[in-house]
């Protein structure tokens, strides 16, 4: 593999009070790769995403994004990432276009670059005339499309997508997946994705990792993982991975 490593997670631990959420996980993602974390609620996916997005501090371990440490160089990391939380809203009294403009102005000093980013965002969101309406008039699906467009338009080195199609209907989910795949391929963005949706993961990801109760159970390409567990799909492989470890699916939210 000649590609550079863009994300490196080493022995990452996160404990909230006395409750461990992440228990020493390690994985890495190469430049241009789409990597998915698969696991039930409470598995530690969102905590891992938030640590990479510099929002949470790890209890121990190290995370590097493009060579920058998330704890000691958070601003450098934020310049290189774009994070789409599972529950992300936009400002209700702004129009969709104004929201994209606001984010673009934060990322880009050059007005021309900011304008170009907004144009890309408008294209990705595909909201038509609604882009000039206030966000408070948007449906949940429209808000999610706007958020995904916001995350993609800045051409980040690393795109962090937490349940990107959560709450979106089938038609729009297909649209969003296509956009993510196209942008990742065309722009060469690296993507770290978390999802419950195994079809989505299989469609988008180059490599996957099963995560359960803060630990990574297995890691590899979707084909390798399915082959290892003799499963027809990732869902079946996940269940068998749990059984192999003597674990149950009783993760808490």
């Amino acid at each position: 593999m000649s590609k550079d490593r863009l994300l490196s997670v080493e022995r990452l631990v996160k404990i909230y009070g006395d409750k461990p959420a992440v228990r020493g996980i390690s994985f890495s993602v190469d430049e241009g790769e789409i990597f998915a974390l698969i696991g039930p609620n409470g598995a530690g996916k969102t905590t891992t995403m938030r640590i990479i997005a510099t929002l949470l501090k790890p209890t121990s371990g190290r995370v590097l994004v493009d060579g920058h440490d998330v704890v000691s160089e958070p601003l450098e990391v934020r310049r290189r990432i774009s994070y789409l939380p599972e529950e992300a809203g936009a400002y209700p009294n702004m129009t969709g276009r104004e929201y994209l403009e606001f984010v673009a102005q934060v990322y880009f000093e050059d007005p021309g670059e900011a304008r170009a980013a907004v144009e890309r965002g408008i294209e990705y969101a595909a909201l038509g005339d609604a882009i000039d309406e206030r966000v408070k008039t948007y449906s949940k699906g429209m808000k999610r499309r706007l958020q995904l467009a916001r995350a993609l338009m800045t051409r980040p080195r690393l795109l962090l997508l937490d349940e990107p199609t959560s709450g979106v209907d089938v038609v729009h989910a297909v649209h969003l997946r296509r956009v993510v795949k196209r942008v990742a391929r065309e722009e060469g963005s690296t993507v770290l994705l978390s999802s419950h949706n195994m079809l989505e993961v299989e469609y988008l990801s180059d490599r996957v990792a099963f995560i359960h109760e803060g630990r990574i159970l297995v890691e590899g390409t979707p084909g390798e993982v399915k082959k290892r567990y003799g499963a027809g799909n990732l869902e079946e492989a996940f269940v068998r991975a749990l059984e192999e470890q003597g674990l149950s699916l009783g993760g808490s939210g």
Binding site: Y16, G17, R50, A53, T54, L55, L56, K57, L75, R78, R79, I81, S82, Y83, L84, P85, E87, A88, G89, A90, Y91, P92, N93, M94, E98, F102, V103, Q105, V106, Y107, E109, Q147, R150
Partner: protein, 456 residues
Amino acid sequence: MARRLKVLVSKEVRELVRDPKIILVMILVPSLMFIIMGEAVGFAAEKTAEEILKGVDTAFVDGDGGWASDLLYSIASSAPVSRVDRIQVTHGEDVADRALELAASGRYDLVIAVPQGFTENITSARPAVVLVYSVVRGLSVAAGAKPEVVTGLLESYKEHLVKQWLRRAFPDKDPNVLLNPFTVVEEAVVKGKALPQQALSMLMSQSFLLFLGPLILLSMAASIAAASIGVEKEEKTLETLLSLPIRGRDVLFSKAIATLIVAVIGTLSLSLGFTVYMRRVLSMPLEIASQAGATGAQPYGYSGGLGFSQVLELLGVGTVVVAVVGVFLSIMLVLLLSIVVSSLAGNVREAQALAGYIWLPLFIPLFAMMFLNITSLGPLGQAVLAMLPFATPLLALKAGFEGVPWIMYANLATNLAYSLLVLFLGARWFEGEKILTARIRARRRGLIRGLVGTGR
């Protein structure tokens, strides 16, 4: 970094001024409230004047028939707003019964009754009685204004009688001078400067505004600040915002700056409404205002106040500067505290409740301060006063007036230290992870629920 701060401030201001709740509750309602109140008071005053100018129907029941009752009748009937019917009472008829009967008939607003022997008592300088029955037809200011006309009439009558006696007793003297042998010219001396006592009394009576003004501004600022962070939580935008390439502290600063801008707009709107109210009330014509005394309004052009230059001279430029800087510091302190504290909330309602709980108790000592002289407190009391948060504006004006400037400088320094401390801690709060996780912990311990009831 300044560019990104500008972008954030612009976003905050736009989001706040487009929020219908903020426009309505913080900007429109306070100003409209005063304008409507002014119109209501003005309308009541005009109605009162109209009622009086329509005329006061008076019955003059005369059981005396002497010169003294004749004089009272002529004064009553010469009043421009009175229509007086003179009713002679026959011998043996009770004056009070007749007067009551006329009052009960509903034909009169006022019944003045002079009993038998009134003139004889007046002439002999013995106590005499005039009976007055005011017919009350309602509980409004306008309804109560008519009967008040009689007070002026009787005062005028008394003066007339006394002057008559004085003329007889001292034919070569001016009865006006005898009645008012000297005029009081009263002035208050403050810091060696003589000021009209009336002006000073007015300044004292209006000193509550020194408390009320900042209170309104600060409560407005706290509420807007809380709404600003509450919206981030409610709409789930904070997580995304904090992941953008900006420093957490810039999020705090931008919210404080934007809230300050909106709070100043709100305060200007409130001041405009208050000015309209005062002009509406004070601009009633002199005769209406004096007749409609029940409104408590001062006639327009009342010269009892102090000009700004006089106030400046009285307090000293240093005091005014400290007061103004103190207002700014107090606002910033309230804003920063409100933003940090309300970040524990999950929505706008919780945020505003939390912000309100935090700063309101701090105003209790300020309220007490309105009734205290700084110099009457001991060293410990003065030291406590010097450390009160938000107190600089009120304290500066009081300290400047009482000649203890050290206390306002000490309070300014203390409040500056408070602001810097909150700024430092607030910046750390916004840079850290607790801003995203604290609510979970607080709710787990029942803190939020305890403070703001239910809510999520």
